[in-house]
């Protein structure tokens, strides 16, 4: 590689299928189906048929072992040139945003000229496997040579071993679900039920308005008879949200505390896929592709949740670190696209940025980052409204924010996504 200057990374545009609650309209589809079809939509949208793209980087979180080459297999089912490499990548809910950051770095440094970042997830096609004990028996039995030794591997077999294992959306080290972890965070930061419900309500209202105004017409394309995200509620109200029962019990959050997370202010299990096309500025000009925005910064961080930090607090740290490197203040943005895994997650993050103590001690900053203009937060809705197919959320946001900046003409947008395992992925788009 030459020591040339870094190149600007252009976002040409994104596309996604409508997101659907788990086990509804996409129940019969696999990650491979949805990812292939979404990539094809992107190919059709930007006339990429027959074109060799330097790399397609994509992944899924809830995934089958047989999908070990998911990105490559998916692109082979499209009209992209089969000479296009596919890289399968995974970092929980940050998957497709991380995919975009990695490709963007390669584009910036001149290694590649164009890339597609994408993600798909379905919990309708979750891999159900045998427990390890029984699986080991089967493997050893397959290796055995005599009938006797084959049978010997089933010595001590109990029927309970046949109970299949379903992947749990929980933390392996703490055995708490995401929701239970977030419930703990809400308690630490004193986040009220009302504040969470308000945020959820705003998300639905913003998303419905964006759909009705046609904002999503070229971003969300009809798929299997579905024309908009089926988690979206145009008839949502604060009264309805207030009537919902806590979803994660009060037990995990501690007996004394009243639980505040409900099905209304948490994201449901969701099926869906999304994709974004990233290119160098030169490539965009050469191929007459539009440039909606530039991807200028990215940062991934992690917290020590095992020792008691809030599991989903890593975006607070990643953003702080990213802002320092970029020389920007938290207030220097026109749009804040903060992924709403739970309303409480966003509210904790915002509160942490406003907290002198946290910013000094945890973020090593001289002062608090301060508060943001809430009218700039998730202005066209976010995951509480659309749903959250883990790996698809990153490129869902990239596609939306790039279009928002294009419509605005110029400006800057901040993206953050929290992930399992106490990590967070963040990025900045500018135009």
């Amino acid at each position: 590689m030459s020591n040339q200057q870094l190149r600007r990374v252009a976002i040409v545009g994104g596309v996604r299928i409508p997101f659907c609650r788990s086990n509804t309209a996409y129940a019969e589809l696999t990650n491979l189906d949805m990812l292939a079809d979404t990539l094809q939509m992107l190919v059709d949208k930007f006339g990429l048929a027959g074109r060799k793209i330097d790399e397609v980087v994509a992944g899924a979180v809830t995934t089958h072992a047989k999908d070990w080459n998911l990105a490559r297999e998916a692109l082979l089912s499209t009209t992209l040139s089969p000479a296009t490499p596919g890289i399968t990548l995974q970092i929980a809910c940050g998957t497709s945003l991380e995919a975009a950051l990695m490709s963007a770095a390669k584009i910036a440094s001149g290694q590649i000229d164009c890339a597609i970042a994408a993600g798909s997830d379905t919990t309708s096609d979750a891999p159900v496997v045998f427990q390890r004990k029984f699986a080991r028996r089967l493997i050893r039995q397959g290796q055995a040579r005599s009938l006797y030794s084959r049978l010997a591997h089933f010595k001590g077999f109990s029927l309970s071993e046949l109970t299949p294992q379903v992947p749990a959306a929980g933390e392996p080290r703490t055995r708490l679900s995401m929701g239970q972890h977030c419930e703990l965070m809400a308690r630490d930061w004193g986040i009220s039920r009302e504040a969470q419900d308000h945020l959820a309500m705003a998300s639905h209202m913003n998303a419905v308005a964006a759909f009705d105004s046609g904002f999503f017409d070229d971003l969300v394309l009809p798929y299997h008879g579905v024309v908009r995200d089926n988690n979206l509620r145009a008839d949502s109200s604060l009264e309805k949200l207030a009537s919902l029962k806590p979803a994660f019990g009060s037990g995990a959050a501690g007996a004394s505390a009243a639980a505040t997370l409900t099905a209304g202010n948490s994201t449901p299990l969701t099926d869906g896929a999304s994709a974004v096309l990233l290119v160098s500025e030169e490539y965009a000009h050469a191929h007459q592709l539009p440039v909606q925005a530039f991807l200028t910064q990215g940062r991934t961080a992690a917290v020590d949740f095992v020792q008691g930090e809030g599991l989903l607090m890593a975006p607070a740290i990643a953003v702080a670190e990213m802002l320092q490197r970029a020389g920007l203040a938290l207030q220097d943005f026109d749009f804040y696209e903060l992924h709403e895994a739970f309303a409480a997650q966003i509210l904790c993050t915002l509160k942490a940025w406003e907290d002198e103590d946290y910013c000094r001690n945890r973020l090593d900053l001289p002062n608090a980052l301060g508060s943001i203009d809430r009218s700039k937060l998730n202005v066209h809705g976010s995951s509480l409204a659309f749903g959250h197919p883990f790996a698809a959320t990153g490129t869902r946001i990239l596609g939306s924010l790039a279009k928002m900046l294009e419509q605005k003409g110029s400006g800057r947008g901040l993206i953050s996504v929290c992930t399992a395992g106490g990590m967070g992925v963040t990025a900045i788009l500018e135009r």
């Binding site: 491979l32 189906d33 297999e73 009809p222 579905v226 089926n230």
Partner: protein, 674 residues
């Protein structure tokens, strides 16, 4: 490797390192593959080649993205002039398919997309059949819809492969089945997923010498003599409930063939050639081929514009508006339905839910469809719509006010249409800033089962709008017929005098039952008086007034009396007939003693006279389009090829009969010898 590809125009031929002979069908000069005589001649040479060069296996695939094979080339059927030449052509294909079947190597066919008629017959002559499980993959025998039945050995081979019970049902119903259903039937041997490759599946099958499994016990049992007797009787009964033998002989002939030879495939194939040869030149087959080509012509009208709608806005949630909205939703579109208050929209939503349940069945798909249909009292969705259809009550001022309000809110490029059947388009368009924009989209009731839509244009209408409207019709699976704006357009203009004549005959004292039976004996799907009841007598009265013909005051008064007393026909439970469970209560005794031919001649005469008048008035551009409109708009006896074609044909026949009588050397018509 030794195979000269240049020898073949329609096949890509390749012999690979595994000594497999690959035959990729890619019919030259066509978008889709069909088995034309040229394609088959080349195939015969390829069989010769396979016989002499002895490859390890033969694999047959398509190179077209549009599918495998749609069938024989129907356009060539009309070139046959005698039964003998048809039989000879069929026997030649039998010969090559038999030789394909007898090749000592493994023969594999691998299918994605349509595999119909002759394509399926070719597939059945292979050892092993593979299909890719994508929605486009369809297997079926459409032949009876063309007045014949499978003639490339398909009747005998399908019966031998999957048993008479299943095979006959497929051939008689002409229904199409997907890959997985075809596997369940035993038509194909292996299904591969959408992310797998046909080429490699075919190679795998040849290297491991795969063979189709022998037919199941139940399949073989269904071909035994006692089973055939029982099943054939059932099939005849079922067929009789749908079509008459004198109108549509093909299914009856197929049943008789199977009943007689169902356990002797070779004999059945020989007889198949004779039967199909005779059917091919029968008037029904000639008429149905014409219907097929007319249908293709109407469909082609819808392909002249790349316009593709995503959202439709319908104003007026009455029967027509509501049902148009529901139909568009069913076809995958997003629809907003507007009326003054939600309570006027709710009945339409309920009917739509019923339609979705019936057509889609899967509750998940029904839910998705319901989500695509949105009530919109304030009409805020107009600005998002690609097609806006007005279907409010027939009142000029109300419609004009609506169009005035709509025009400035429309999205650029959106189609603006009225579903009026009573008000001249010009009067509606006159209030618009761009009057050339407005078109008429005249749907028929019931929308879900009437395949025709009249696209109304006036002299000032922009042709581009007409093309877009036709493309929209294609998108929602409807045949567009462009007609000139004039009272009754085409279909109602012809139906009006036809129904009035039926009423005059009725007023002369002939029972409704006899009149309807006469029309049905001619081949109409429903008699004119039952039709009047079904459409609604109030609607008939309105149409009569629109047509404004001075004839038939007595008839008008007759209907008016019914309407005034609330007897509107089917929808009110009583009209000319009493209705029970949506069925007209007819007394069959009333038919006896009436000469049905005399009645039907009178009816059909009026009907065709009006067709000729409409053609002369330039309502449609040519006689073929007129015939197409009347067949798909009113169900005019399809096997007769359309009203104008029928009259011309009749006159022709009368002349030649007269010539034959004077000639006095009448020979036996080859079609009649048996």
């Amino acid at each position: 490797m030794g195979d000269n590809e240049a020898l073949y125009r329609h096949w890509h031929v390749d012999r690979d390192r595994d000594d497999i002979l690959w035959l990729h069908l890619d019919r030259a000069g066509e978008n889709v593959n069909s088995l034309s005589s040229e394609v088959l001649e080349e195939f015969e040479q390829l069989i010769n080649h396979a016989e002499t060069s002895k490859p390890r296996g033969v694999a047959i695939l398509s190179s077209k993205p549009t599918g495998f094979v749609f069938g024989a080339d129907v356009r060539e059927f009309d070139s046959f002039s005698t039964t003998e030449t048809v039989i000879a052509a069929i026997q030649r294909v039998h010969g090559m398919f038999n030789r394909l079947e007898r090749l000592p190597c493994t023969t594999v066919v691998a299918v994605e997309g349509y595999c119909l008629g002759g394509g399926l017959e070719l597939a059945l002559a292979c050892n092993y059949r593979i299909a890719k499980d994508v929605p486009a993959t369809k297997f079926g025998f459409p032949e009876v819809q063309l007045g014949i039945f499978p003639g490339f050995g398909g009747s005998a081979r399908s019966v031998a492969t999957i048993g008479g019970m299943k095979a006959m049902e497929l051939m008689l119903s002409a229904r199409q089945v997907g890959a997985r259903a075809a596997k369940a039937l035993g038509l194909i041997d292996e299904v591969i997923g959408r992310h797998e490759e046909l080429y490699w599946a075919a190679r795998r099958a040849i290297l491991s010498r795969k063979r189709s499994r022998s037919p199941s016990i139940s399949a073989r049992l269904s071909n035994t003599a006692p089973a055939r007797k029982i099943l054939a009787d059932q099939m005849r009964k079922k067929t009789a409930a749908r079509v008459r033998k004198e109108h549509y002989p093909a299914p009856y002939r197929l049943i008789a063939l199977w009943e007689q030879y169902g356990n002797k495939p070779q004999k059945m194939m020989q007889e198949e050639a004779k039967a199909v040869g005779e059917l091919m030149l029968s008037p029904a087959a000639v008429g149905l081929r014409r219907v097929f080509s007319l249908m293709e012509r109407l469909k082609a009208e819808g392909k002249q514009s790349a316009f593709k709608a995503r959202r439709v806005h319908v104003i007026g949630a009455g029967v027509m508006g509501g049902d148009i909205a529901a139909w568009c939703v069913l076809r995958g579109l997003e629809v907003s339905l507007q009326d003054r208050e939600l309570k006027y929209i709710e009945p339409a939503l309920q009917r739509a839910a019923k339609l979705f349940k019936k057509k889609l069945r899967d509750p998940v798909k029904v839910k998705a469809a319901l989500n695509r249909l949105r009530p919109d009292v304030s009409g805020e969705r107009v600005a998002q719509a690609d097609v806006v259809i007005e279907a409010i009550f027939e009142n000029l001022e109300a419609k004009q006010a609506l169009f005035r309000d709509l025009e400035p809110r429309l999205k650029a490029g959106a189609v603006l249409a009225s579903n009026t059947s009573a008000i001249p388009l010009e009067q509606l368009a006159s209030v618009l800033q761009a009057p050339e924009r407005l078109i008429g989209l005249h749907f028929f009731n019931p929308v879900a089962s009437m395949p025709l839509v009249e696209i109304i244009r006036s002299d000032q209408t922009d042709t581009e709008q007409v093309k877009k409207a036709a493309a929209f019709c294609g998108q929602i699976n409807r045949f567009p017929l462009v007609v000139k704006s004039s009272p009754g357009f085409l279909v109602n203009r012809v139906l009006g005098p036809y129904m009035m004549t039926a009423l005059s005959i009725h007023l002369e004292g002939i029972p409704a039952e006899a009149i309807d039976a006469a029309a049905e004996a001619f081949g109409m799907p429903m008699g004119p008086l039952e039709l009047a009841d079904t459409v609604g007598l109030d609607v008939c009265l309105m149409v009569t007034d629109v047509l404004g013909k001075d004839q038939g005051e007595a008839e008008r008064q007759f209907i008016k009396r019914y309407v005034d007393t609330g007897k509107l026909g089917k929808k009110s439970g009583e009209g000319i007939y009493r209705w029970k469970d949506d069925k007209a209560q007819k007394n069959p005794d009333k038919i006896t003693g009436h000469d049905l031919t005399v009645i039907s001649n009178r009816l059909v005469n009026v009907y065709i006279n009006e067709c000729e008048a409409a053609l002369n008035d330039g309502i449609v551009t040519d006689a073929d389009l007129l015939d197409a409109g009347m067949i798909f708009g009113t169900g005019f006896a399809p096997f007769r090829g359309g009203p104008l074609y029928y009259r011309e044909h009749q006159q022709h026949e009368q002349q030649s009969n007269a010539a034959q009588l004077t000639d006095d050397s009448a020979t036996v018509n080859p079609g009649e010898q048996k």
